[in-house]
Symmetry: C2
Subunit: 451 residues, 2 copies
């Protein structure tokens, strides 16, 4: 029996941040993390191990355990197979029993089983956050010439892009690119940027079956329109689901059978049991519906909320739901999104107005390395509250979306943005007379103000 004060199951970003934060807040408490793998991958870095940026999956591994062990966190490599909430003990596959005072579930997510036949054939891969799997998959994919990537969410699009740059022939199959995060005109632009001689985009085609040879090895994909393509392997990037087997088996309440129910303090329905990250329920900041949005940044925010509230309520979660804030790089161009798209807003019958402004990320335009920068703002038609933003540009797009994240989070209006105080500098940003976030707000406001 291993007795601890705070037990964390799962060693992804949520689990590791929770462990370190607990050590900071409660230096006298023993903090233990049980995780399955010895190593960890940076989850959002996985697509980039297939390209030229990182030499191998080893380069994407993080010494997260190292950092937390330095802070006094105990790490065990084991798989918890059962939890007895009454006895306050978790039982490992190894036979070890871990007794706890407070328990945090951070079991993450796993690839969703796709609706396609033969997905279990040889040469078909998922993209789990499992270092050993990714290492083997990487070695195998290296040997292939033509690869079908099924799924046009961010993992599918990023992997397809990386493989193409590495010289592989890629068939990308799915709906318009990143449709949950971007409106159609931005997906179109993304498609142009992604165009690469090595990529064939089978847009709006549905994959029905993975074709296999006699050795049950993937050799192609059949679409539901009857067409077929040949390939040496298939990567299924068709989404993730919360990893809740353990929670379910141990009797925790799940929301719609999918994610662990949690309140504002990340407490589950069981006393002294918290859940954070991909396995915990996420509600949308605006629609208030349960949504399958899984982001490491949200997971770490939840980890900090749970850690703060483990023993006493100390920290009210100041976000009212996930704002689905997200950035990526496609064909050398950065795309970022936060909040709701205009298309999704329409589906939810939200009355919106929007404006898109194209500017540049330096000023004057004659400065070297000047890039175009586009900002789309989506606001509620009556109140002018900003509920969505999409940005295209160069590297600073990554932080620009975080300005918009705070704006959305704090329910700021387009009127507030008209007199937003921003720093501008020739080498770093667009000019003060044309700062695109402000200009987009201005374009929405015109018509509301006037004599």
């Amino acid at each position: 029996m291993t007795q601890t004060d705070i037990l964390i199951i799962g060693g992804g970003p949520a689990g590791m941040v929770a462990s370190m934060t607990c050590r900071q807040y409660y230096p006298s408490k023993r903090v233990t993390v049980v995780k399955e793998q010895e190593k960890s991958l940076v989850p959002c870095g996985i697509p980039y191990v297939f390209g030229n940026l990182l030499e191998s999956p080893e380069d994407d591994m993080i010494p997260c355990g190292e950092r937390s062990e330095k802070m006094g966190v105990k790490l065990y490599h084991d798989r918890i197979v059962e939890i007895d909430f009454d006895e306050k003990v978790a039982i490992g596959e190894s036979g070890e029993r871990y007794g706890y005072e407070k328990l945090i579930l951070a079991t993450g997510s796993v690839p969703r089983e796709p609706k396609i036949s033969n997905w279990d054939a040889e040469g078909v891969f998922f993209v789990p956050k499992d270092p050993d799997y990714i290492l083997q998959m990487h070695a195998r994919v290296q040997e292939m010439e033509t690869i079908a990537v099924i799924g046009t969410g961010f993992i599918g699009v990023e992997i397809a892009g990386e493989l193409a740059h590495k010289g592989k022939k890629v068939h990308l199959v799915g709906s318009r690119l990143l449709k949950h995060a971007f409106d159609p005109e931005l997906s179109d632009y993304m498609e142009q940027k992604m165009l690469h001689e090595n990529i064939t985009f089978h847009k709006d085609r549905r994959s029905k079956e993975i074709l296999v040879n006699e050795q049950d090895r993937a050799v192609g994909v059949a679409f539901d329109d009857g067409e077929r393509i040949a390939c040496d392997g298939v990567i299924l990037a068709t989404g993730y689901r919360a990893n809740t087997e353990l929670a379910k088996k141990s009797g925790l309440s799940l929301r719609q059978g999918e994610t662990i129910y949690v309140d504002e303090y990340m407490r589950t329905t069981r006393e002294d049991v918290f859940a954070i990250g991909d396995c915990a329920e996420k509600r949308h900041f605006l629609t208030k519906r349960t949504v399958p949005i899984m982001l490491a940044s949200t997971a770490t925010a939840e980890a900090r909320v749970a850690a703060a509230n483990l023993y006493k309520i100390n920290l009210v979660k100041s976000f009212s739901g996930t704002i689905d804030i997200f950035s990526t790089v496609i064909g050398g161009t950065c795309f970022a999104s936060a909040g709701i798209t205009e298309e999704d807003a329409a589906k939810h019958r939200i009355n919106t107005v929007s404006a898109t402004v194209i500017g540049s990320d330096k000023h004057p335009a004659k400065l070297p390395n000047n890039h175009k920068q586009a900002v789309k703002l989506v606001a509620m038609a009556n109140s002018g509250i900003v509920i969505g933003a999409q940005v295209i540009g160069s590297i600073d797009t990554g932080e620009m979306i975080n300005i918009l994240g705070v704006i959305i989070e704090k329910r700021m209006t387009v009127f507030d943005l008209l007199n937003l105080q921003v720093a501008t500098h020739p080498l770093l940003t667009s000019g003060p007379t044309a700062y695109p976030i402000v200009q987009a707000a201005q374009n929405i406001v015109v018509g509301h103000i006037g004599s």
Copy 2:
């Protein structure tokens, strides 16, 4: 007599944005701008015309007039010498009389006369936002080998850096670098980054006199400690003052005799007369004192407020004072600041706590082009409200400070930041487990939360 509806005096960023915004809001109104120069310089770009980035001052000129003329703004090149507020007419040096319904003063700022003898000698330059002056100055400076730059605010530091990179020998004279925007430890780091074989930094030395030869041409600088240096020319970057001669002469109320008094809607004490930008009073968001902070981004925000409220009150200024938000590049490293420094806070007897976190701007660290990124947060000790932030890093620092600007503007606390939702991406930002804004907040909070 030229009759117009909306007359704007001054064609800098504030005046031009006001003119275009007025045309957007009031398409039936005639909008006229009277400015002295035919051309405009991007003000914050001026230091960079002395280096290798821009080939000549011409590259820093903006077609601002072009953009507004396309929107139907009438431009006149003239200098207004008097305003008759009762008759509602402004009189130009040319003899032309401009009648108006609403008047916006955007007369900007001019270099402050320094407390040093012989500042009017040959070979001594100020840094006004005057294209003709800068063109001539640029030509003259090109011929010089050794130049003394007096003043270590952003213009002085940027020009000194650019000249050194261009191969000039530079004597930089002043207090610690950018002391109003950065705490001492950041100034020290900046100094290291700025160190260049071509720069001699005369730190904390006061210049007493510019030494001149028989032709009354600058040949050196004498310090008040008796030492002297030889140089071919002197650049005085010793600050700016509001350009309010016209306002004063015409009888407008000035605050402490320096800036034009304005209320929250940018109205002066005279009916139908507004003032915006550097010539208008600025109050500090926290100390509430009048401060000599002059930023193009604040000026354009004020332009939008004035334009919206010209005929009816439409837009409450949502900022409670200037947050002095600012970014620059020194020796290839970006430095940015918003709000108040710890040093200034102490002077104003504000009880603060602070934390500095050093992270990296990509993750994992093995990614190419990974840079260090440091964030310092200053918060009020009791409430935890964030009142200041300083960032050092690479190009995305420029937008990162704007996240912090919104955080300060919206009076967010370090507790709010613990669960800030941010987008993170391997190629664009630090990792979600170590995002430096959140981590700095966390380090401030530790000790407040615990069992």
